[in-house]
Amino acid sequence: MRVLIVEDDLALQEQLRNLLTKKGYAVDVASNGEEAIYFATEYPIDVAVVDLGLPDMSGLDVIKKLRAKQIKFPIIILTARSRWEEKVEGLEAGADDYLVKPFHNEELLARLNALIRRSAGLASATLVCGAIQLDTNAQQVIVDEQPIELTAYEYKMLEYMMLHSGRVISKSEITDHIYDQDFDRDSNVIEVFVGRLRKKLDPSGISKPIETLRGRGYRFSIPLNT
């Protein structure tokens, strides 16, 4: 999942980047409103964390501008102000949730997960595709009732594929959503991850959850139970 952090405080920005990168998100960081709008327009962002107090324009204006451009990814507001009037203003501007500073990292991660799940139209925190269960809160994957170990990138790739099961996903789309802009697109890392995921999810090679469509990409073939 690709997350955009819009925060001008460099310490908090770095802390958020480290936290989200560690949790397997592809992270883009903007320090002001102009940059935020650029990233949101140019990159396939899945979710954004927007601080309200930015140097060049308010976070509310950024959200209003993004919504005016029909950019619909979920947005969570970060604010030091905890008054209800301000929360309502932010939600009315087009944000989907708010988090008052200071906050616990677990709370931010849970809210981000909930927003991503909600944007995919899912009610539960656990994605279920046949015998494969992915708990977005605990970031745990269970296959045939046995937990399996995945790296952060493998987990994010699986989560993205399960959220878009049944749809053809190109290699570049996967790259865009799980890596930030510095990733070398010519490498064969995606093929390697897909290979590893196949081995871990379907060691016997019977269910074949990930299909390869030559020249087009991959498809997670087991439908998602909504």
């Binding site: 905890s82 008054r83 209800w84 009037e85 929360k87 309502v88 939600l91 009315e92 989907d96 949730d97 708010y98 008052v100 200071p102 616990h104 909930a114 909600r118 009610a123």
Partner: protein, 454 residues
């Protein structure tokens, strides 16, 4: 233009007065002038009639005066009153003795029997001429046309008018000056209560007095009362800020002491990390609670009553967005007519915290209703707020702790955050009452009475 009310009033009153006196003086002057002119014309007419009465046509068609004219000025040269009579050919037929040395010209084209007045200058003397054409008949039945010209110098009339004018403007000037002076005194006396109120405000500012306590004029009593309320409100707010700041500083000292103890340790155990987490969480709650308490304003002295329905609807829409996963049904029963004199931010906090609490705990439904109440027994009017949810509810002992006023955040009921403590503070600030009991269908039932400001 000057910003002083007194200068503005004096200047505008003086302007109106000058305009009035100027126009009145002009009208009187014109009226007097017209009257003098008319009197002179009438005098000329009377002279003409007396001349016509004396004029006679002799048998050889010559004009003759039967006897001397009655006014002696006709016989006195250069007297200012003259008569000339011309025949039809424009030749002088008769003239008064007074006209020696003067000449006038006949008009000739006159209608018989009609007066014609002409302003003229007779040897540098301004004068009025009355031209009149008459047909005289002789005893033998013959008749002849003559033009009678009666001339009177208008010098004396002009002098009279000038005298009147001078006297008129002197009087009007004097009256104007007196009126302006009187107005100045009246305005200054009328504005005295305003100066008094300004002096009293300065005294309050310098700390000599606490309130506006003079017996002000009726028009200013309401203003003084409102200013007193504003001053009291401001003092209350200031006191609340100070108290809150003191409370915050005091309550932060305990977790800070714990944290100080922790960082002096060489290694942190898991229990220490947990302690660190608890203490920072507590500090965060303390800051939130005290800031919200300080931001609460209470009844507003000068604000218009606030419509509550749009605020509640906005909050419901926002909470529906945030708690979308819970698929709750919110039922709102509030008339758009219900208004309450309160600060907007306070109402957002009160309803926001109440609704957020209900949304957080509800299983499937939240209801809110706001109605006006009128308690005749207590002689009290205001609004009644009822909020219900179908969640697990609060246990009786926890509820008592939540509803206890002045509860410290670090003692607040686990899971209820600071929302209920803030609600409690706000209700107390508005002199309201807060009741809560379990719902019949499970969940919690909250009733708040907020009395209107008297």
């Amino acid at each position: 233009m000057s910003t002083s009310i007194q200068s503005r009033l004096v200047l505008s009153a003086s302007f109106v007065l000058f305009c009035f006196l100027g126009l009145a003086g002009f009208a009187l002057d014109r009226a007097y002038q017209n009257g003098a002119q008319k009197a002179l014309n009438e005098r000329l007419q009377i002279h003409l009639y007396s001349i016509l009465a004396e004029a006679e046509l002799t048998q050889n068609n010559q004009l003759m005066m039967r006897s001397a004219l009655s006014d002696p000025r006709f016989r006195q040269p250069d007297s200012g009153l003259y008569v000339f009579v011309f025949n039809q050919n424009g030749k002088l037929a008769w003239r008064s003795l007074s006209s020696a040395g003067f000449n006038v010209k006949p008009l000739k084209q006159l209608t018989t029997g009609l007066n014609r007045y002409i302003e003229n200058s007779l040897y540098e003397q301004a004068s009025i001429e009355l031209h009149y054409q008459a047909i005289l008949e002789g005893s033998a039945g013959q008749s002849r046309v003559f033009e009678f010209i009666v001339v009177e110098s208008s010098q004396s009339m002009n002098n009279q008018i000038a005298g009147f004018r001078s006297e008129l403007w002197q009087w009007l000037g004097g009256i104007g000056f007196l009126l302006i002076l009187t107005q100045f005194v009246i305005i200054r006396t009328s504005l005295k209560p305003l100066r008094l109120i300004v002096n009293d405000l300065e005294n309050i500012q310098q700390g000599h007095t606490q309130q506006l306590d003079h017996n002000y004029s009726d028009e200013l009593k309401e203003l003084a009362s409102m200013l007193n309320k504003l001053i009291t409100n401001e003092r209350t707010h200031l006191k609340r800020y100070r108290d809150t700041l003191a409370d915050l500083a005091h309550s932060l000292k305990t977790p800070l002491s714990v944290l100080t103890g922790l960082y002096t340790q060489e290694k942190l155990t898991t229990a220490d990390v947990q302690m660190l987490k608890t203490q920072t969480q507590q500090m965060r709650q303390l800051v939130d609670y005290q800031l919200q308490k300080a931001a609460a304003k209470g009844h507003q002295t000068l604000a218009a009553p606030l419509a509550l329905q749009p605020i509640i609807q906005q909050l419901i829409d926002s909470l529906n967005k945030v708690y979308i996963d819970k698929h709750l049904t919110a039922s709102v029963n509030i008339s758009t007519d219900i208004k309450f004199s309160a600060e907007r931010g306070d109402m957002y906090e009160l309803f926001g915290n109440l609704l957020d609490n209900a949304y957080k705990w509800a299983d499937s439904a939240v209801t809110i209703s706001v109605q006006q109440y009128d308690n005749a027994e207590l002689k009290q009017q205001g609004i009644k707020i009822v909020i219900e949810d179908d969640g697990p509810g609060i246990q009786a002992e926890q509820l008592a702790a939540v509803l206890q006023r002045g509860i410290r955040v670090d003692e607040s009921v686990n899971g209820h955050g600071i929302g209920l403590a803030v609600i409690n503070e706000l209700v107390a600030l508005y002199n309201g009452t807060l009741e809560s009991k379990p719902c019949e269908l499970g969940g919690q039932h909250w009733v708040i009475y907020l009395p209107a400001v008297v």
